[in-house]
């Protein structure tokens, strides 16, 4: 399912008035009109912004109850799928604690894995360049293991998850600044 399909599902639901101005952050963006919906999920997780005019143009009376339920379900699935667009999770220096803002997204991944038992994921743990290479290998592993445990607790099974640590060997960003280091301390989910 691609993003534009998610948008259509949202638009449908919004036009029914079912969302009544309630995005997940309680923030609604009014747009020029139909078809310019905005759906962004930022790294902090959860701050999803949906837009849509009231001049929807799809009449609710044309929908059966079954269709209404279907639209709701699709909307939920779309919201979950949009969360799952995020596959990289960041950490503070020398820690392997999952940040609060990453939880909702990881839960979406865990639910997806639970409903798709054939899906395998490789969790790649990384560290920034500071400190020693071997300690960083162990630190990257601890980060990958923390994500693995979180996914299992939330429904994924161990057999779906494989971890590997690259330590500081594969930085996402080159450079020796706080901002590059922050982007390099991470766990990446690689769906296979």
């Amino acid at each position: 399912m691609n993003i534009s399909m998610h948008h259509k599902a949202f638009a449908l639901v919004l036009s029914l008035g079912l969302f009544a101005g309630c995005s997940s952050t309680g923030e609604t963006v009014q747009d020029e009109g139909y078809g310019t919906d905005v759906s962004t999920v930022d790294q902090t997780g959860g701050s999803t912004v949906y837009g849509g005019g009231e001049d929807g143009g799809v009449s609710s009376s044309a929908l059966t109850e079954a269709e209404r339920q279907q639209a709701l379900l699709e909307a939920e699935q779309a919201a979950e799928a949009a969360k799952r667009d995020i596959t990289t999770f960041y950490f503070d220096f020398d820690t392997s604690e999952i940040k609060p803002e990453a939880r909702e997204v990881l839960i979406a991944h865990a639910r997806y894995l639970a409903t798709n038992p054939g899906q395998k994921v490789r969790l790649e743990g990384h560290a920034d360049e500071r400190g020693t290479k071997e300690y960083n290998l162990a630190l990257g592993e601890r980060r990958a293991n923390a994500v693995q445990r979180f996914l299992i607790v939330n429904g994924a099974s161990r057999g779906q998850l494989e971890t590997v640590s690259y330590g500081e060997e594969k930085p996402a960003v080159m450079g020796s600044s706080e901002s590059s280091w922050a982007q390099n301390r991470r766990v990446e989910l690689i769906f296979k």
């Binding site: 020398d94 400190g131 020693t132 162990a138 592993e141 601890r142």
Partner: protein
């Protein structure tokens, strides 16, 4: 691009030669003979010291037909300079060029401020060269070393390093390490993909040879005590595994590829076992593997990270890194079964211990005011000394005579190797001619 580097460095050398007071900063010396097409390490003497002992190495008298390229006496001069403990006299400043003791006028060399004088003669005989060399103490006018040595014509570099070792030992009383080797990993970009190369070279960066190439990371090379094998970590299968690589034959054995981490190999002094970090039982712990039987014994048991183990000089105790106190610190176990004792307290981050061969010091990476530098602790007094001044230093490795330390650092966004003299503080860097060079490991003295 290489030619530019050479010119710039030669100019710096001239400038530095005129500076001549206090610490001689930025003495950049590039040694380039025939620059091979493959990436090689360059050498830059970045910091000399005035306390260095003045030695005159007279160009050796030559007879027969010797190969073109660096002359033996030039290589000896460079060796003595990079030790940081000697400063050699430029041949153009010499008043005479003796090749035997009875040709030496000691007054001339005293006038030039020299403490020691090396003279010699090199002869070609068929496909070999033989050298007769003599070392004199200029003050006492006594000969303190006289020897002959030989080597095939294509191995004059080894002959020169042998002479340097003898001269160094005759003057300092400590064996020289100019005949030892460095193992390191270079990283270049090839067609947009990373290319890692495990290489071995002389300590001046010359005669580098690629031992392994991979587009996945290679790290933690460790020399066997006999200098014939390297253990290292390679990700070539997509996961980390520890390999033992026999240098002469190129034969490789994958000895550890358990689920999870397989890292930080360190040889026992008898060469029969390896300390390894494995996480097969849940998290990073230290194990000892008997190489012949592959049997494992677990040496640490803690929920924290335990890694980077290294045997103490006595082969009984071991040092390692653990973050059981909340951040990485150096711990010591007196024996395999003893309780670990924390030995670093000076800052929040101390990791990757490497003891000196004499057992007096342990070297490690130390975080200080946000910078990662190399420090050592005197194991008798507990005193900690920070040895480097750069920001992102790692992978310290001590020379087998304990007089020099090599580590990796960043210079202008590039990873380079730096060698410092623990006696004088003098240093030289070994940047790669292209890309990064990291993970240095100093070989033992190879007999």
């Amino acid at each position: 691009m290489l030619a530019n580097t050479v010119c710039r460095n030669r100019n710096n050398l001239r400038r530095a030669a005129h500076a001549g007071h206090g610490m001689v900063w930025s003495l950049l010396l590039v040694l380039l003979a025939a620059m091979p097409a493959q990436a090689e390490l360059l050498i830059r003497i970045t910091e000399g010291v005035e306390s260095a002992i003045p030695v005159a190495v007279v160009p050796f008298k030559e007879s027969g037909s010797l190969p073109a390229g660096d002359k033996v006496s030039d290589i000896v001069r460079t060796d003595l300079n990079i030790s940081g403990e000697f400063s050699t006299l430029a041949p153009e400043k010499m008043l005479s060029l003796p090749s035997r003791g009875d040709e030496v006028y000691f007054r001339d060399w005293r006038l030039l401020g020299q403490r020691y004088l090396l003279v010699g003669e090199i002869r070609q005989l068929a496909d070999r060269a033989s050298v007769r060399f003599e070392l004199f103490d200029v003050t006492s006018e006594k000969r303190i070393l006289g020897e002959t040595a030989g080597a095939p014509l294509n191995n004059l570099r080894s002959l020169a390093h042998h002479i340097s070792d003898k001269v160094y030992e005759a003057i300092t009383g400590v064996p020289g390490v100019f005949s030892t080797r460095l193992a390191y990993v270079t990283l270049q970009s090839a067609n947009g993909k990373p290319l890692y190369k495990l290489q071995v070279s002389d300590v001046d960066g010359k005669r580098s040879r690629v031992r392994l190439e991979s587009d996945e990371p290679i790290l933690s090379p460790a020399w066997s005590p006999d200098g014939r094998r390297l253990a290292y970590v390679s990700f070539e299968t997509g996961k980390p595994a520890v390999y033992i690589h026999e240098l002469a034959s190129g034969q490789r054995t994958r000895i550890a590829s358990f689920p999870g981490l397989n890292s930080a190999p360190a040889w026992s002094p008898d060469g029969r076992s390896l300390l390894l970090t494995l996480s097969k039982d849940g998290n990073a712990e230290i194990y000892k593997m008997d190489i012949a039987s592959r049997s494992l014994s677990r040496l640490t048991e803690h929920w924290s990270i335990d890694t980077e183990a290294s045997w103490a000089a006595d082969g009984e105790g071991l040092f390692f890194t653990s973050d059981r106190s909340g951040g990485p610190q150096i711990y010591y176990k007196e024996s395999e079964r003893a309780e670990p004792r924390r030995i670093t307290f000076g800052s929040r981050y101390n990791a990757r211990p490497r003891p000196s061969a004499d057992g007096k010091f342990v070297y490690y990476v130390h975080q200080h005011n946000g910078a990662f530098q190399i420090a050592r602790t005197n194991l008798e007094t507990g005193q900690e000394t920070v040895l480097t001044r750069t920001q992102l230093d790692e992978s310290p490795s001590v020379s087998p005579n304990g007089r020099m330390l090599i580590y990796a650092t960043k210079q202008g966004g590039q990873s380079v190797l730096t060698v410092i003299s623990s006696e004088s503080g003098a240093s030289y860097t070994l940047p790669a001619s292209e890309g990064d060079v990291r993970e240095p490991a100093w070989s033992p003295i190879i007999r």
